[in-house]
Symmetry: C2
DNA sequence: CTGGAAATTAAATTAATTGTTAATTAAATT
DNA sequence: AATTTAATTAACAATTAATTTAATTTCCAG
């Protein structure tokens, strides 16, 4: 429908701000995170960006290509550091250091971009999610491989709890981090929970992972 | 479209099986789990049940009332035991026993009804989920209250890791259990992961919660 | 046996949405 | 002045979904 009140057709006067295309990506990623990809009509993205749906076609061609652009230029770009944190060989340190680094990187990355976890949960982790195949291909193998192997190695050396299933560790870590942040908007509304911040979450997850509830 | 091949209008001959209404609820809950509530048209439920959409209106009135029936007669009914496992006062045992019981009950309940975790993730845990408010009202307060308090108590007694944030424990437990099972269809497809069963998952989660990776 | 109630389908209706395109307008650039 | 770029307006076309109505068949009570 009508974009920013009173805007008439025609090229606008030069603005100095960030370019339109990039702003549209920002709005799109936000909307995809809040309502899911298939739950976000172009018209809503357009409305939020104070623009018309036709402009989205002007910049991206069609919805699929918009999703593509969002994935490449926003999602994958953001996840690169977390990926590196496990794939870069860290000479000499064992599984627990590896995980510590991974957890910290993930939680920091994701705190800075609160739209990422909900998007992940909806579009990667739930059946029929539109980013599933893509991210399984590009992300999962490397991350799970590196973590699982490190755990197995330390377990053989008798350094780790033998009841831990190495192949479940990546899932557990995602559950404790991405999932926790994805549902932040839910549990932070419970009485007395408003003040839980990222630092607390990092400390909590690290403590739980390294020595569990009983503490070490 | 057309229900079971060649079925013509009219009341069918008496069948001895479970009643139609109940079967429709089963199909609905399954579909809601796979595709989400708003992603499931009545026509798909009808097709899967080899019936016409009109019959769903006959039994439930409209889609909202169908959702209501699913929640009351399937979802809440199933979760009752897990609720009891934390709310029933267990004389004398501390937080770790409480959690052990909760984890076991949740994992058992949910293994028997694999449709529950995906439904939860989609409709409770993600923003805009249709079961959010309902289940927040009915479930969350009691569960989180009981767990958080038990942890705080034991922490004051010096029995538990002080870096653990009591208010985050319920989230972490959900992340390690419900979430892990919700994504089962995802990670069980990775090479070498086919054989991870519920027993392994229970052992893993308990080990992680009680003493972390480093083991006790 | 008969007539009404129950269970079911077929078919139409209504209502909205949504991605997409075409035509048009106005500023910027050369 | 001519052309390209950035935007809007307006409408199409597909289709999708929930709901309603009428017809059909079987069951069951009297």
């Amino acid at each position: 429908m009508s974009p920013s009140r009173g805007r008439r057709p025609g090229r606008p006067e030069n603005s100095t701000g960030p370019d339109q295309r990039s702003q549209l990506l920002d709005v799109a990623v936000q909307q995809f995170s809040e309502h899911g990809i298939s739950g976000t009509p172009l018209s809503r993205i357009a409305r939020e960006a104070r623009v018309t749906p036709a402009l989205l076609h002007y910049y991206f061609g069609n919805k699929d290509q918009l999703v593509d652009a969002v994935v490449r230029e926003r999602v994958l770009a953001l996840m690169a550091p977390a990926l590196q944190s496990v794939t870069q060989p860290s000479p000499g340190d064992g599984a627990s250091h590896l995980l510590d680094r991974f957890v910290a990187t993930v939680l920091e990355t994701v705190s800075a971009a609160p739209w990422l976890p909900p998007l992940w949960v909806r579009e990667v982790l739930t059946e029929g999610g539109q980013l599933r195949e893509m991210l399984i291909r590009e992300v999962a193998p490397r991350v799970t491989g590196a973590i699982t192997e490190a755990i197995e190695r330390d377990q053989r050396l008798g350094l780790l709890n033998p009841d831990i299933e190495p192949r479940l560790v990546p899932i557990s870590v995602i559950g404790l981090t991405v999932f926790a942040l994805a549902t932040h908007s839910l549990w932070s509304r419970f009485p007395g929970n408003q003040d839980i911040d990222t630092a607390t979450l990092i400390r909590h997850v690290r403590a739980l992972l390294s020595s569990g509830l009983s503490g070490g």
